[in-house]
Amino acid sequence: MTGRLGKWDLFRVFLRLLFLQGLLNRRGMQNLGLASALGSVSRKLDPGDNSLLLRHLSFFNCNPNFVPLVLGGVLRLEEEKLEGRPVSDQDIDRFKKALAGPLAAMGDMLIMGSAKPLALTFACVFAIYKLPIGLLAVILLYNAAILSCRLWGVYFGYAKGWELVGALSGPRFQKILSVAEGASVGVGGVLLGILLSRFSDNGFAMVLPEAAVATITLYLLRRDVPASWVAIILLPTCVFIALLTG
């Protein structure tokens, strides 16, 4: 670290950012969370006790896993401004807004759309085969990946500053996304196969009702009826049928 902020300062920002979503609100979204994280280093970046935090209270929304990357860059720009380089408040605001949108979309696709379903599908496969060590491995690996991504984000963003925009554009993200998508679809297919092979476990007489329930549920899911409602309504139906058939 060559600037005003040391490794420990950036680590404190990372720790505050872990609980970023705790201050999520409809008006400014993550603005208060961002200010809370900036507050941990504001003494060093705002020695005159001026308007640093006030300037960062405007609307901000991004994927929480990629916020450290943006904030790392913001810290570098604030530092450059303090050193007298030609960086204005508007430049920093534009930098934040320019990165937040694309990173929000990337984060949603990568984490919520691929990594999380991948981890949960793996967990279900291990749970079906009663392998607690597999469950433990899934949770450890997922958290190691998420936390290291966030920690790396703060340091990488801080190291790059303006160059962050250039570093993030390019085909690398598409490649990562393709690999994650492929893996999640592969594991999803494995889980689907395991569940389908269990259709005949309760005797072949149950295969037809199971296929019918799967088809009806899929139809309802396509019409935005949650699967949990289908499951809840199905129990009294089954008990009623059992009472009728004796």
């Binding site: 609100n25 949960l120 749970a127 679809v185 269990r198 549920t217 059992a242």
Partner: protein
């Protein structure tokens, strides 16, 4: 009562992770039910409940304002009720108790989401109304934001903890009543229901990957696994 308080504390901690923290996946039913089951001494039954809840919830991705059931309440109440019922006196019918726990968990998930919504809405409204004077010093703002942050996390812990405490007590009471009514038709119906939940899991996975450009690969993988498992 002490078990319900323990479950409430666990749920509060999981809520902090899920709503304020980095979403470590521990709040997902497949993990939270096992966690609760391990503490109560019935990890395998809780695992069976947790995995079915997870399969049902797999189709719901919490993105772009989608309303989701309360995963924490479902996992903790489902796993907790199952484990507590199995710890009760007599020789319990394990599969039937699991079905009861599963149903209680599903209902708790729906109820939890609806009951927590106004509370967290209130928190959201309060945080949205926070104003800072343009003359306020940076240190004062930093201190106020930090206090807001800490109290917000505490609020999340308290709301979810109390909610799950109440749902656990209600769920356990209802589960006890339900298992007390156990007769042939009820057991038969509950067992049939449990086997049909696999079908809902299948529909959930297909729905999850429905829009995916690689859905043909999903189908190929599934067919290969079915063939492999039949051969084995």
């Amino acid at each position: 009562m002490s078990w319900f308080i323990t479950l409430g504390v666990i749920a509060g901690l999981l809520a902090v992770d899920q709503r304020a923290g980095w979403q470590s996946l521990l709040a997902q039913p497949v993990f939270s039910a096992v966690l609760v089951g391990s503490i109560l001494g019935e990890p395998w039954a809780a695992l069976a409940v947790g995995v079915v809840l997870e399969l049902i919830y797999l189709s719901i991705i919490p993105m772009r304002g989608v309303k989701t059931p309360d995963h924490i309440a479902a996992g903790v109440v489902g796993g907790g009720t199952t484990s507590l019922l199995l710890r009760g006196p007599g020789e319990p019918h394990i599969a039937f108790v699991c079905a009861v726990g599963l149903f209680v968990g599903l209902v708790a998930g729906e109820l939890g989401a609806r009951l927590a919504l106004p509370m967290f809405g209130l928190q959201n409204r309060f945080l949205s109304s926070v104003e800072f004077s343009p003359d306020a010093s940076g240190r004062r703002i930093a201190r106020r934001v930090f206090l807001l942050h800490a109290s917000s996390v505490g609020f999340i812990f308290a709301v979810e903890g109390l909610l799950v405490l109440a749902l656990c007590a209600g769920g356990y009471y209802a589960g006890e009543r339900f298992t007390g009514l156990m007769n042939g038709a009820l057991v038969h119906g509950a067992m049939g229901w449990q086997s049909l939940l696999t079908a809902i899991g299948v529909a959930s996975i297909i729905h999850l990957f429905w829009q995916h450009r690689l859905r043909n690969a999903l189908a190929v993988c599934a067919v290969l696994v079915v063939i492999l498992l039949w051969l084995v």
